[in-house]
Amino acid sequence: MATTPTPQAPASRLKGSRGLWHSRGRTGSLLACILLLLLNCIFTPNFLRFQTLGINLQQMSSTTIVAIGMTLVIATGGIDLSVGSVMAIAGVLAPLLFLHIANPVLGLALALFLPLLAGAACGLFNGWLVARIQLQPIIATLILFTAGRGIAQVLTNGAGQPFTNAGFSWLGKGSLLGLPVQAYLMALLLVVFSLFMRGTRFGRSIQAIGGNAEAARLAGVPVARTRIAVYVITGVLAALGGLIVVSLNSNSDPSTVGLNVELNAIAAVAIGGTSLLGGEARVFGTFLGALITQLIYTFLVGNNVPQATALVVNALIILVAVYLQIRPQS
């Protein structure tokens, strides 16, 4: 027959399982990373220092953590515009709690826990709109995008909440072995979610839904439940990102916490090679995407490039990176 089955190719076995480095497009973002590292080494003064590493990791952690959630959402074929607003809500809640609860331990515990719960609730709302009401994800999450920051502002009447709280600040400012705590947290989440996507039923369900929702439904995948869960996870991760930002700044400003993070996270996911059409989740690719963005930032600011030029450069990099990744496909 006309179909010529591909013969058993032992070479392709070497590619291994759907591991961290498997499949197309990965090399593109890796090359970009290396190139940017080189550029930074040559042009950015004092780039090759241990401290620089720590600072870069710290600066990218919160966005990367949010972007991990975004990766999952995008893998189901959705998108979440509300993450920045969720960060603001969570970030505002934390100081509200530990500043107003007398018992410091209880205050801190609640300040770490309740905002994550609030993030989960936001995610549940998004997931409900997407999975049950069947709204388009863009419009569904636009609602919380709009209202969420307002809610955060209402909570403190718009004011920032500067604070000193050693326990809470450890999340954003603490360091272990010379590297920031939040970088470990980011690494942990990256590993957990990479394994999670590969090793669990849930991870497979996500990719199956994004790849072909109807086929997944007919194969017994709980489509609506998985979708909701993904938005909830993203909500929690966004809340965590918000806590980190607030902790780092020793201040929670409802108007600026998480501003524009949704776009940065989506860009990181796209640059990392996850298709915006869904069906695949490259958690580690997202890390590379975020790293690329971070290295560009360091390069531009470290070399005194004005904001205006930086924006144009950023735009070009996004276009080129994504183009290189989709090209080998067709």
Partner: protein
Amino acid sequence: MLSQQGPLLIFVLLFLFASFRYTYFLSTYNMISFFSYNTIFGLLALGETFVIMTGNIDISVGSVAALSAVVATRFSGAGLVPALGMALLVGLLIGLLNGWAVARLRIPPFIVTLATLIGVRGMALIISGAATLSTSGNDFPAIYSGTLLGIPVPILLLVVAFVLGSILLHYTRFGRHALAIGGNEEAARLMGLPVVRIKLLVYVISGILASLAGVLLAAQTYTGNPNEAVGWELNAIAAVIVGGTLLTGGKGTLFGSLVGALLLGLILNVLNFENGYGLISLSSYWETVIRGAFLLVVVLLQTRLAGQKKLRAMVLSPAPKAPPV
């Protein structure tokens, strides 16, 4: 269809409510300033409708409006026509760029226009020298504040854009083909429709209308502010969806988008009046919450009314994927 009348109904109800509640709501002055101001969002929504109709999206319109405002301001000394011309040229070029990257390079539209959203903002800062420019020349603001035959120019522009857009959509091949592409791109290709050209064109329309909105913005405020128009793209998209256009493409009404844009604007106007009414003086933060809640209500209502679930299921069942070759 109810899906189109739902938002209109809400608009009319809210309008009536405001007319009875606030003494000066129906004053000529408020009506003219309300409609003039919302012309800007109406234009953005009209352009966005064309893009969404083909199953694509354009999130760069806010940045394009800002850049056009800056460019128009730069050229305003030379008079209205050169300023308008240069600004529209900018919109056209960015539209071409967007369309080219989407149709030819096949980069997902969200990413393409995300890149232009960022880059065009940078261009606006570069061209303005990172400062807020001030318009010069006397005739330039007339495009926002002037009148023609007793009608304010922006309202006239919106009506003209709407009528031209409707004609384009209903009475030209381009319009019908754009809808066909949104409905089933593979079928459209097999029917011999010039898919790439049509996609280019919808992005160009969106770019030009965004530019026109930018020019109005510059004329309204006498400034070219590179930091203006942030987030307007989401406003435009919301207006289009509220207006009943399918985000998946294939079905769209310009009238709906217009109503959607005006409805979102009306909420703000009503909130401003409510603040002056004195009973509840809402902090401005509540405004965003209320806007979000309102969006939720409208979208939910519209989904119910139109039974979109069913429609979507029917439309999406033959899910045409991108053609091979």
